[in-house]
Amino acid sequence: MEAQSRPKRTAESFLLAAVLWLIPLGIVALGAQRWFPALASEHGADIDLMMRYLLVTVGALLLAGHLALGFFIWRFAGQDRVSLRMASAKAERRWSLIPVVVMTLVAEGGVLALGLPVWGKLAGAAPADAVAVEVTAEQFAWNVRYPGPDGKFGRTDAQLLSLSNPLGLDRQDTAARDDVHLLNEVFVPVGRPVRVRLRSKDTLHSFFLPFQRIKQDVVPGMTIEIWFVPNKVGTYEIACAELCGFGHYQMRGLLQVLPSDEFEQWLREQPTFF
């Protein structure tokens, strides 16, 4: 019996251990590639930091877990008797401390230290000097409105909605007279906070700026405000990220980030809605 106790591993167990080792290596190699759209907003750096923290820590845990699993299989394959039947209740409790500590640090710690401060900042009020834009989503387009020189959005009323007045803008309201309306294109100045008022006319939508790390559902019946600071000039895509109907996949808009003076000039040249 003793002479036979040398482990006799089958090809199958080698294969299984090897695959379990290769999987996390492949994941880590892939995870190290650049996947995110090129960053183009201020707070986005913090979100990317959160994400990189997760990629590194969680990647390491994934690697450690799979290497251990593969090792266990390699180590004990072919063993012809059980070498450790049961750990003591105390040992089991003690081993459980590892996941408790690791998860508290990595998962909960990550949220508390890196995540929630960014979340809180974004959820807070926009800086006072922010440029105001309103985006009203509908199947399958983005209505974009600027308040005009008076800085006030004119009154809208659902009763006034029609194909020619897609926002239901009230002509009687003086604040409405200088409002500017565009479709599917949002112009913003670079380096200044932008405050976006989000509304929907029909179903849920989601205002997704992949390059700016912004995503906010647009909910009919609610006016939701978000803000961000675009920090790179250029043209960026806006996607809808909440299922809104058969045209969901083609609900594309463009975010045009202009130098500040060009933006001011562009805004002055826009015709008003009425």
Binding site: I47, M50, W95, A107, V118, A123, T203
Partner: protein
């Protein structure tokens, strides 16, 4: 006592219909559930294949598909509405009518009485009623493809207003009504089954079967059942409310100012967020309802093939309880960017991260169960080990999504799709497969073919990683889910090749399942006959013949003397000691 039991055992119905169709025998009902789940899986799986075909090669006309589906594929090109119906029904069917049916209905019914030493469920008739309620529910769901406007198309989450108004999408006509009716029936069925499981586990355990001696499968089913019973009713209420909004002129979920096709709708006063809260109050516990039994099965499959007790039985139990409790209070992590208060986002973020702790303990215990083991690589064992890998990879993805800040970028992208397929697609499927290879002998009295089984495992495991790992990365790149095609967006073009690769892997994954069907059919006819305990396991179901007779036990119900995992007890004549072996023959070790 024994006399009455014996009398019960004789009561085997003789007619084919009472025996195999309208049966009250928990084993037959379990097998019925399992087979129904697998049949629906074929349909829902084919839907996934159609979706992947479209996503890899959008707008390539396929005339052969037009012959098959003349309306949905007019000109051989899929309509966007049909794609969304596929998305919706694939999700609904897989979550509720495949995994719930197979894991809870199938293994739950089959195993509970057998593993606790009962002759049947506490309420056999209710059990039959539960199965025969889910059948019309399934048929109603499937029938919705053939009504005007097609099947429901607002996603398996059915968010209003899209799901409430037929003006919003064609599938929100009759198709969505059938979806709601089907769901309500499903929940009714689940409630009957769940009450039955609960009462059976609590009341019908045989002599000596204390709670601490239960196998982990039973524990996990018990917690899953409690979760389901607590979480499902709000969705029933929500479904009724949505039906009222759709047909009764109410506005639970519909605010004022909805404007469709140049027409202002008369609704006012509701909010779509209410539905989201109600849905996810069900939806989040539901994923644990599905995953807990798979984890329990993994422990019970690992034990006989490691020839040792699982590591950390007690800690696993406490973790299951903690997961069960926490899962009821973290639903809001599906709603970080929904427009709900950002303060709630913080609460749900912190709460969700707490779940990683008991989950990681369970993962560690599964792994540590291999330490010091005498490993036997059967197909069931391979699937259980694969399950550990998927639970790890999928679980780690969850740490990204439970984090509100990271979720801003990842929400509603393919990262989410990849993640939940690992958890409620992969872990559950591997649990079902592990359970099928393990208990098939007890169900049918024949062994499954191990060579075919292993081929099935390897192809499934590798193809699964191929499909759903890639989705995580396209998700990091911001590829939104529920898109009919990605051609309209420049920033998604780099992922076109990934989508082809994912589709090819999906085809392999789908085709591989034919091996299981071939195996089942061949083994039922030709497979070697199974002994009562082919795996040399310890739990009660292995003390009765394979297949187990009506009434499960002979004249005498078994008496339990030890916990479920007395493997390799020092000094015992064999390396497994059945739960029925008295203390005086083999010492009790826990």
């Amino acid at each position: 006592m024994a006399a009455t039991h014996a009398a019960e055992a004789i009561h085997e119905p003789s007619g084919f219909i009472r025996r195999y169709i309208f049966s009250t025998d928990h084993k037959i009902i379990g097998i019925q559930y399992l087979l129904t789940g697998m049949a629906v899986a074929v349909v829902a799986g084919l839907m996934a294949m159609l979706m992947r075909l479209q996503l890899a090669w959008p707008a390539v006309p396929r005339p052969w598909l037009e012959k098959l589906l003349p309306e949905a594929m007019a000109g051989g090109v899929m309509k966007p509405e049909f794609y969304l119906s596929l998305v919706t029904m694939h999700g609904t069917l897989m979550v509720f009518f495949v995994v719930s049916l197979a894991l809870l209905g199938g293994f739950g019914n089959f195993l509970i009485p057998l593993q606790i030493g009962a002759r049947d469920m506490a309420f056999p008739f209710l059990n039959m009623l539960s199965y025969w309620t889910v059948i019309p529910a399934t048929l109603i769901m499937l029938a919705s493809f053939f009504v005007e406007g097609g099947a429901a198309a607002a996603g398996w989450t059915s968010y209003p207003p899209l799901s409430a108004l037929k003006e919003a999408i064609p599938g929100s006509g009759m198709g969505q009504t059938l979806w709601l009716v089907g769901m309500a029936l499903f929940i009714a069925s689940f409630t009957m089954g769940g009450l039955n499981y609960f009462v059976t586990i609590v009341n019908q355990r045989t002599k000596g079967m204390t709670m601490r001696r239960l196998p982990l499968t039973i524990w996990s089913l018990l917690f899953a059942t409690i979760l389901g019973l607590l979480a499902f009713p709000p969705l029933t209420a929500a479904a009724v409310m949505l039906l009222m909004d759709r047909h009764g002129g109410t506005s639970f979920f519909l605010p004022a100012g909805l404007f469709f096709g140049n027409k202002l709708l008369p609704h006012a006063g509701g909010t779509p967020l209410l539905w989201q809260h109600l849905f996810w109050f069900l939806g989040h516990p539901e994923v644990y309802v599905l995953i807990l039994p798979a984890l329990g099965i993994a422990f019970d499959v690992l034990a006989p093939f490691t020839r040792k007790p699982p590591f950390g039985y007690r800690m696993t139990l406490y973790s299951l309880i903690a997961i069960g409790f926490l899962s009821m209070v973290v639903w809001g992590h599906h709603m970080f960017v929904s427009g709900m208060s950002p303060y709630l986002g913080e609460f749900f973020s912190v709460g969700t991260m707490l779940i990683t702790i008991p989950s990681a303990i369970i993962g560690l215990n599964l792994m540590a169960s291999l330490w010091g083991a005498r490993l036997r690589f059967t197909t069931a064992m391979l699937f259980a080990i694969g399950l550990i890998s998927l639970f790890g990879t999928g679980g780690f993805g969850g740490i990204f999504l439970g984090n509100a800040t990271a979720d801003i970028q990842l929400h509603d992208t393919y990262f989410v799709v990849g993640h939940f397929h690992y958890m409620i697609g992969g872990v559950t499927l591997f649990g079902i497969f592990a359970g099928t290879y393990y208990w098939f002998p007890k169900m049918f009295g024949r062994m499954l073919n191990e060579k075919l089984g292993k081929a099935h495992f390897w192809l499934t495991f590798l193809a699964f990683y191929g499909v759903f790992l890639g989705m995580h990365f396209t998700g990091l790149g911001g590829q939104p889910r529920r898109y009919y095609s990605f051609v309209n967006f420049e920033y998604l073009q780099p992922f076109a090749n990934w989508n082809v690769f994912i589709t090819l892997c999906a085809f392999v994954l789908g085709a591989t399942q034919l091996l299981l069907f071939a195996n089942v059919v061949w083994s039922l006819l030709q497979g070697p006959r199974a002994s009562s305990n082919p795996w040399e396991a310890t739990t009660l179901e292995w003390t009765t013949p394979s297949p187990a007779p009506h009434g499960n036990w002979g004249a005498q119900a078994p008496q339990v003397h030890r916990w479920a995992y007395d493997y390799s007890v020092p000094g015992a004549p064999t390396d497994y000691t059945l739960q029925t072996v008295p203390e005086r023959q083999v010492p009790v070790t826990i």
